[in-house]
Structure formats: structure tokens, C-alpha cells
């Protein structure tokens, strides 16, 4: 199963490092990563592989949400299908 992690918020030091550490801890592999500043907001998208993940999707989503509030950014994880079905015919 593949998913997309979206991080939106105010830029600060260590966002990528903390999120990737969390993902690595649970066996989530980062396949691609892109970041940009849009309308003054730090916006990062990670394309990740959940094949060998050691926790449930629900728990991972919850942990990322908590990490997001610690960092003062919003972190979402959504299955890749939602983007594919919306933007690709």
C-alpha cells in the first residue's frame, strides 16, 4: 500500500528530520519527497510505501497528527488512490 504524507505549516528547523525519523521507526519507506513554500507556508509532500509498516494505518495517522501538533504544522497521511482517482482518468 502506498500513501502520501502532506505537511503544511510554518517553516522551522528539523521538520523533515523529525517526520522521517518517525516514519523510519515504523518501517515506512520514503519513495519520493518534494517541498516548496506556497503562500508563505512550508508545504512538503512525501510519497511513502507502507508495505512493511509495523503498526496499523490508524495508529500511524494518529502518531503523525500528534507529531504535527508538537511541530506546529499539520501532517496528513492519505492513501495514494484518493489523489490518483481525483486527478487521473
Amino acid at each position: 500500500m502506498k500513501a502520501i504524507v502532506t505537511v503544511i505549516g510554518k517553516d522551522k528547523i528539523g521538520i523533515i528530520s523529525k517526520i522521517s525519523t518517525k516514519l523510519a521507526k515504523h518501517g515506512v519507506n520514503i519513495l519520493d519527497i518534494s517541498q516548496t513554500i506556497l503562500q508563505g507556508y512550508f508545504t512538503m509532500m512525501m510519497f511513502v510505501d507502507l508495505e512493511v509498516m509495523d503498526i496499523s494505518f490508524a495508529k500511524l495517522a494518529r502518531e503523525l497528527e500528534l507529531l504535527g501538533s508538537e511541530l506546529g504544522v499539520s501532517i496528513l497521511i492519505q492513501q495514494e488512490d484518493v489523489f490518483k482517482s481525483m486527478h487521473r482518468i
Binding site: 503544511i8 510519497f47 495517522a61
Partner: protein, 452 residues
Amino acid sequence: MINPFEILETVQMIEKQKLDIRTITMGISLLDCCHSDMDIACQKIYDKITYYAEDLVRVGEEISLEYGIPIINKRIAVTPISLIAASADETDYVKFAQTLDRAANTVGVNFIGGFSALVHKGYTKGDINLIESIPEALDITEKVCSSVNVATTKSGINMDAVKQMGEVIRETAQLTADRDGLGCAKLVVFANAPEDNPFMAGAFHGVGEPECAINVGISGPGTVKTALESVKGESFDVVSETIKKTAFKITRMGQLVANEAAKRLDVPFGIVDLSLAPTPDVGDSVARILEEMGIESCGAPGTTAALALLNDAVKKGGIMASSHVGGLSGAFIPVSEDEGMIEAVNKGSLNLQKLEAMTCVCSVGLDMIAIPGNTSAQTISAIIADEAAIGVINNKTTAVRIIPAPGKKAGDKVEFGGLLGRAPVMDVSKFASDEFVSRGGRIPAPVHSFKN
């Protein structure tokens, strides 16, 4: 891979523009639950619903979490109860409604629809009993929704049923007077009722439907409005194209959720309903889309044309995005459930007459409209007759969900809470239609040629 702008667009549609899936509705056939002993029939109904829908809420929540898209309601629609209850020896069908309510509470759904009767051409014994049970059923149950189909294009309008439904609506309002007539918010009178509608209060599982099916209703007025903000001042060609593209994206989301729910529940996918369903929240209003097109306040001249364009463009965009489209599939204009409509009524730009005109070009009739509590049953029946005529002649679904708010007069407010929202009480004509309504009989089916 999907590009970052597309990802952000989707995230913002959900986070900022309130895009959601309004409902996953499981249709369940109860045709095998008939029995002459009402208690046995009710037990069969309870067992069947709780067996089929056991995992509905859990699966809905899982999909919502994994795809990151809110799914607001999980609902059940069943075979019109008049067909099932007709086999029972008893004539009071309130117990069937209580059974539906109990089953809905057990599986945790928000609403259950199908306390219904189809009487467009005439009544069976079961239909008579069911309709007489409606006021009490809606008073003592919480989640049960009721609907009665009084007209179709092929059979005309059953004016006896129209007359009776005016009385039933009044009685339901009186019984639920302590809740501003809330019972009437769970009762719809239809012309050309669809058999696969996932939206309440009019959902039921038609006799042409399979044993069980998953139907999904989408939402997303906020997304359409935001898209239109980027084409301010452009021609209607551009407006229409923009709505089509947005509707396509919204519907694809609905199709994905529908497929996934059907797969996980091992139930066939039925349809996606393309209706743009508003909520009372700011930023989730159909009226604001019409205003974005250049109407100062919803109801001003131009509103009907704007709504016609919106409704048509949503269908054009949505139809390609879904393998099966059905249900009501049109923009909803429920007054109490749409923040922009409420404000338009309060400002005086929108009245009952204009709403009636608007229902000629969209689903789904006069919806969630509070009228003075002293409105006569005959006037309510005449309003139903007008709306049914629009549906019958134009070969489309129309409905009336109207609340004669007990003790309230025009300009007062009623508060239903949640998705049902709050409604300003609207004025109705002071002129009587009593003699018209009391004629009874049937208005014949219209000719289907010579259309002008």
C-alpha cells in the same frame, strides 16, 4: 507520481472547502421479512438489518481515516415498509418503525429510511395503515425517516393521497410541537421518487433493487464556489466548464469511496448520487454558488437560470466520473440546511414562490421549509400538488418536506440542530385552496409528446 499542486488541491478541498462524502447508504431488501404475525415480521426485519449492516459504520470510519476524507453519515434504506407490513394482521404499523429505530441504534447509523408507501396510483391496505401510522411513528422514533410517493409521470397525481398528506404533515407537526415540529423534517412527499436515493429523509430501497446495495451521496458546494471565485467576470462558457471539472473531481472521490465500501462490505455497488448537498455551515452553501455567479442575493432575478446552469454542469461533470449515477442527482436547495438560503430568506430576497420556480430546474423540490403553524392542511396539500405537477410534467423528481412550525408565524425561527439546521418561518399565500384539494381523485398522467 501525482504532482504537488494536485496533492495540495485535494488537501485544500477537504480541509478548507469542506469537501466530504455526505453519506454511505446501504440499501437492504426486506421483501423476505413478511409475516402475518407482526412480532415475527419485526424480529425478521431487525435480524436482517443488523446482520447486513453490522460493519457499515466501522467500514465507513476506516475508509474515512485511510483516505483522509470525512464521511458524514452512514445510513440504511429499506424496502417500503407498507409492502412488508401489509402481510401482518395488525393495522397499527408504529411497531415496525420502532423496530427500524432499534436496528439503526444497534448498528450505529445516523438515519434509517423506508417507513414509506408508494401510492401514486392508489392505496393498498398496507399503504393506508402505514400512512395513518406516520405521525406517531415519527414522534416516538428518532432515526426513522418516512416518505410517500403520491405522483409519477406515468400515472399522474393521486389527489386523495395529496389531500391526506397535508393532514398527516399537520398532525406530525402537532405531535412533535415540543421540538418545533421536527417530525416533519423526517417526512417527504414525492413525485417520481427514485428507488436508489441515498439521501434522507426520502431514501428507500426500491423493489427493483438487489438484495443489498451501497449507494453514495457526495457533497461539495464549497469546492464549487471556490473554483468559481477564480473565474470572476468570465463568461458562462467558462463558468460551466469550471463547474464540470470540479464536479468531476468531487464525484471521483465519491466513486472511490463507493467502490471501496462495496468491496470491504462485500455488497454490490449501486450508484453515486451527484447532488451537491449543502450544510448549515458557512462555506458549504449552494446559495453562495449562485451568488458567486453574480446574483446579489439568492432569489433575485437570474437565480433560476444560475441554478439551471449549476445543476446541469454538475451532472455533466459527474456522469463521466462515475460508473453508475442515480438517486436524486441535482443541486439541493433546502432552506434550513443552507446558510446562504437562510440569509436570503431573512433578507427578503428569497420567498416560497421563487423557491417553487427554482425547483423546476433542480432537485429536489420544496425542502426543509418552515411555514406558519396555523397553515391549513388544505394549503399544505395544494403546495404538494403544485410541486408534484412540476415533477410529473417535467419528468423529474420533486418533493415537499415542509414544516408547519407549531405556534410560529412568518418571521419567527425554528431550530432543528445538526445537519437539519435552523429555518426562518416563511410566509404562505393567505388565499384558500380548500375546494380544489377536496375534489380528490386523480390528475391524469400527462401526454408525453407535444412538449412545449
